[in-house]
């Protein structure tokens, strides 16, 4: 409503704040327009696919590293001393400051974005996994041990399910951050991707398309969060019954 009124009264020039109608129209063309019929027509699916692949890879790497390392840190004091100090040191470095280094290492494009996403998503996943396994009721671990469950099986049968609520929190936070860093990575001038569209639109002064990009990232981010939670619930009893 505020937006609508502001646009109607022309409180701000259209290149600062376009009319909602324009944004909706731009969004429609961006998503459903036939490719080639306009500047951004029909690009959505290519962009979304490109971005999604980057997020999935980056987030996947972060989860594959963050959960095992977090579990080690949470359970073994020696591993925690070794890992915890260095990881928490790295964590203090703002993600953006990795960008120049990533550009040198990986060049512009897929690898840099995946690297940034993985790096940013790693910390919440790692920290929550470590905190989660640390908080598992020691009696549960004792109970598992006395019922003849050895270490490795105990990890999967007792430790991880016991830490499930925190593991899920970490994964959700990590996925959220993934989308933020995706845009950062794509702002460096890749061809396709939702972040790339936003950057591109800024250069040609299409504020409406920028807003479309922001809204779409919000919607996809939210959807991916719901999807993550439901797939975890589908796969794990402990997720189904504790979150």
């Amino acid at each position: 409503m505020v937006w609508l009124t502001a646009a109607r009264l022309e409180l701000a020039p259209p290149y600062v704040l376009p009319h909602p109608g324009e944004v909706i129209e731009a969004g429609y063309i961006y998503i459903f327009g036939s490719p080639g019929s306009g500047m951004y027509a029909g690009r959505f699916f290519t962009d979304a696919k490109a971005s999604l692949v980057r997020v999935v890879f980056g987030f996947g790497i972060a989860a594959a590293a963050g959960i095992p390392l977090g579990v080690l840190s949470g359970r073994l004091p020696a591993a925690d001393r070794l890992l915890g100090t260095s990881i928490n040191g790295l964590r203090a470095v703002p993600g953006i400051s990795w960008l120049p280094l990533a550009l040198i290492w990986f060049g512009i494009g897929m690898k840099t974005t995946v690297f940034l996403v993985a790096l940013a998503a790693f910390f919440p996943i790692y920290i929550n996994a470590a905190g989660g396994v640390r908080q598992v009721n020691p009696s549960l671990l004792k109970a598992g041990a006395m019922m003849g469950i050895r270490r490795l099986r105990g990890t999967f049968a007792v430790l991880l399910p016991g830490a499930m609520p925190q593991l899920v929190s970490g994964l959700r936070l990590g996925l959220g951050i993934s989308w933020a860093y995706l845009v950062l990575g794509e702002l460096t001038g890749v061809q396709h991707g939702l972040g790339a569209v936003i950057m591109d639109a800024r250069m040609v002064g299409r504020t409406d398309v920028i807003i479309v990009g922001i809204i779409l990232i919000a919607v996809i981010g939210r959807t991916s969060d719901r999807l993550l939670v439901s797939s975890l619930r589908l796969c794990f009893k402990s997720a189904r019954r504790s979150i």
Binding site: K142, M146, M147
Partner: protein
């Protein structure tokens, strides 16, 4: 070798014929706190006979739970050793199962899944497992509650599940760490009766830790009274009352009073 236990057990009934199932020799334990050594247990010598129900009675902080943790293999003693079935205990195992004071069920598993947890990897068919779980569910009177989650049942029911999940492993020795302390007196009494019924049926050896004199007199063949700071065996008392025991009975009262007096004398010394 003149510990009070050996003197007493010599005149105890039918004790000493079979080799003990659980032997505790010169057990000591201490923690390091801020550079100083805090003793927890001091030269404990005990022998538990097969099929015996032994209660360990003592004030809080006397190391009863630490002792039980050592028996279970969860903690390492600083001195002495524990022999189970004549072999040194070197870690937790399904032959010595513990029922914990607090709720230690897996909250993400249903009642039936909790009970069947220890059967995994034992080469049982799905059906065989299901049948066994059903049998133990009904044994502790929880047949209609197999599909409930621990969060959905009462404290007494949780301890029934805790009992069933270890009984299903057919442990020779049952270690119980004040398992009924959080229950209301009505439920506690029911649980004591249930435990005695199951004990009669399976005749496992039970080491039961409690600070409740009446509970000890209700359950035990022998009561080990513990002293605190550091925890040591103060005295071993045989409970010769006939089973089933009637808490309204004079003998029961006398026995309770005797133990109460012993405990009070202990506190008197501490003050």
């Amino acid at each position: 070798m003149t510990s009070p236990f050996r003197v007493l057990s010599a005149k105890g009934p039918a004790v000493g014929q079979k080799p003990p199932i659980l032997e505790i020799n010169g057990l000591g334990m201490h923690y390091h706190v801020n550079g100083s050594v805090k003793p927890i247990l001091d030269t404990i010598d005990l022998a538990v006979q097969p099929g015996e129900l032994m209660c360990i009675l003592g004030p809080s902080g006397c190391g009863k739970t630490s002792l039980l943790n050592v028996l279970a293999g969860f903690a390492e003693p600083s001195a002495g050793q524990v022999l189970a079935h004549g072999r040194a205990v070197s870690g937790p195992g399904p032959d010595r199962c513990m029922v914990f004071q607090e709720d230690a069920l897996f909250p993400w598993l249903t009642v039936a899944e909790n009970i069947g947890f220890g059967l995994k990897g034992k080469g049982l068919s799905r059906r065989g497992r299901r049948e066994m779980v059903d049998r133990y569910l009904s044994l502790v009177g929880l047949s209609p509650f197999g599909d409930y989650l621990p969060a959905e049942i009462s404290g007494g029911m949780k301890q029934r599940v805790a009992l069933a999940r270890v009984l299903i492993l057919e442990p020779a020795i049952l270690l119980m760490d004040e398992p009924f302390v959080a229950l209301d007196s009505q439920t506690r009494q029911e649980m004591q009766e249930l435990l005695l019924r199951l004990w009669k049926r399976f005749s496992h050896t039970i080491v039961f830790v409690t600070h409740d004199v009446r509970e000890a007199v209700t359950l035990a063949d022998r009561v080990v009274m513990m002293d605190k700071n550091p925890g040591r065996v103060k005295q071993v008392v045989d409970i010769d009352l006939q089973r089933p025991r009637d808490p309204g009975n004079n003998g029961f009262h006398r026995q309770c009073k005797q133990l109460d007096d012993l405990l009070r004398r202990q506190y008197g010394q501490a003050l």
